[in-house]
């Protein structure tokens, strides 16, 4: 791991620590409050703050997860070289595309 990946992983960890906490509290609040899927979508639809929060969450996760997974695969499977970096780049892209798509779907754009 080079310093760029190291700092990227640490930096996104700070963001995720905040974002995951907010996300979990929101889920628990919504479920315990008895909101239906329709009620939730009515609140998220057109909410730019919601969209900004989840886009930040998605970008941070798309950076953070592949860096950690790369280290795990190197250590546990002894996978090395460009093939690993390429697969992790594709994994990152997949997280980004799926996450952004989900955020916009709930935003209702």
């Amino acid at each position: 791991m080079n310093p760029v990946l190291y700092l990227a992983q640490r930096g996104t960890a700070f963001i995720l620590a905040f974002a995951v906490t907010v996300h979990l509290i929101t889920i628990i609040y919504a479920v315990r409050g008895g909101l239906t899927a329709g009620d939730i979508l009515a609140r998220t639809h057109g909410n730019r703050a919601f969209l900004a929060f989840y886009l930040t969450f998605v970008v941070a996760a798309a950076i953070h997860a592949p860096i950690g997974l790369r280290a795990v695969l190197r250590e546990w499977l002894r996978w090395r070289g460009r093939s690993l970096d390429l697969v992790m780049a594709l994994f990152s892209l997949s997280l980004l595309v799926l996450g952004v798509r989900a955020a916009f779907a709930v935003f209702g754009a």
């Binding site: 791991m1 080079n2 310093p3 760029v4 990946l5 190291y6 700092l7 280290a71 190197r74 250590e75």
Partner: protein
């Protein structure tokens, strides 16, 4: 520990230590010996007694016997230690289990090949780099300066390999430079006389370098000199990150 019938302070032949000793190379096995328990007996004393009285083919390494050289390090009851500074009566009960250091090729029995360990010191630029031109005068290094104090905290390493044996990251990633080499690099990063910092920081960066440390702190836990390679590695992480910003 591992005494049959009587306490360790009893030096009569009836008090016996059961000792399981690794024999052979990577494909070897444990061989069990019985050694008389003696007062104030160290693990190195036990190994020496086996070698001198029971099996002269037993291979192990030692030199000073007093915790100065670090050459007698082995894995004793699953933990890497200096055998000369480990008294048998300080250990937990059960058979005494002796193995060679982990993460290094076994030469024979309790002796490992230290070459990969020292090669990583070289790879981490763990040597003083005086630069092209000799200094015109002595360098003045205040003992109270932060750099000198940081170097002091790691400078007493005697290369015994205990931290390297304890490090799980070395086990998982054979390229990883390891705690001792990175600790040495950190002491040199804090040597204001050294002129090889850019190359050194580049050497300790990457998948074999400081950023691969998981901060398990096994090196710090087991270091017989009570050094903290984990904090030295954290210092290297800061130094390499700061260098990134300065580009």
């Amino acid at each position: 520990m591992s005494v049959q019938s009587k306490s360790n302070n009893d030096t009569s032949p009836a008090s016996v230590l059961i000792v399981q000793v690794w024999r052979g190379d990577e494909g070897g096995a444990f061989q069990t010996f019985e050694v008389p328990a003696r007062a104030n007996q160290t693990v190195l004393d036990v190994v020496t007694e086996i070698q001198r009285t029971q099996d002269e083919t037993l291979s192990y390494r030692f030199a000073c016997r007093v915790g100065m050289c670090g050459s007698c390090a082995m894995v004793v009851n699953e933990r890497p230690r200096w055998t000369c500074r480990t008294r048998v009566d300080e250990l937990e009960s059960g058979p005494l289990k002796l193995e060679p250091l982990r993460n290094l090729p076994i030469v024979k029995d309790l002796t490992v090949d230290m070459e990969p360990f020292f090669n990583k010191w070289r790879d981490a630029h763990g040597y003083f780099e005086p630069g092209e031109n000799p200094p015109e005068d002595f360098a003045i290094v205040e003992p109270s300066s932060p750099e000198r104090q940081a170097a002091d905290e790691g400078i007493e390493c005697i290369n015994c390999g205990v931290c390297y044996s304890a490090c799980d990251v070395v086990t998982w990633n054979e390229d990883y430079l390891g705690p001792a080499a990175l600790n040495r690099a950190w002491t040199l990063v804090n040597d204001v006389r050294d002129h090889g910092q850019d190359a050194r920081l580049a050497a300790v960066t990457g998948d074999a370098g400081c950023h691969s440390c998981h901060s398990h702190m096994s090196c710090t836990e087991f270091c017989p000199k009570h050094l903290s390679p984990t904090f030295s590695i954290a210092g290297l992480k800061r130094a390499t990150s700061n260098k990134l910003w300065r580009r």
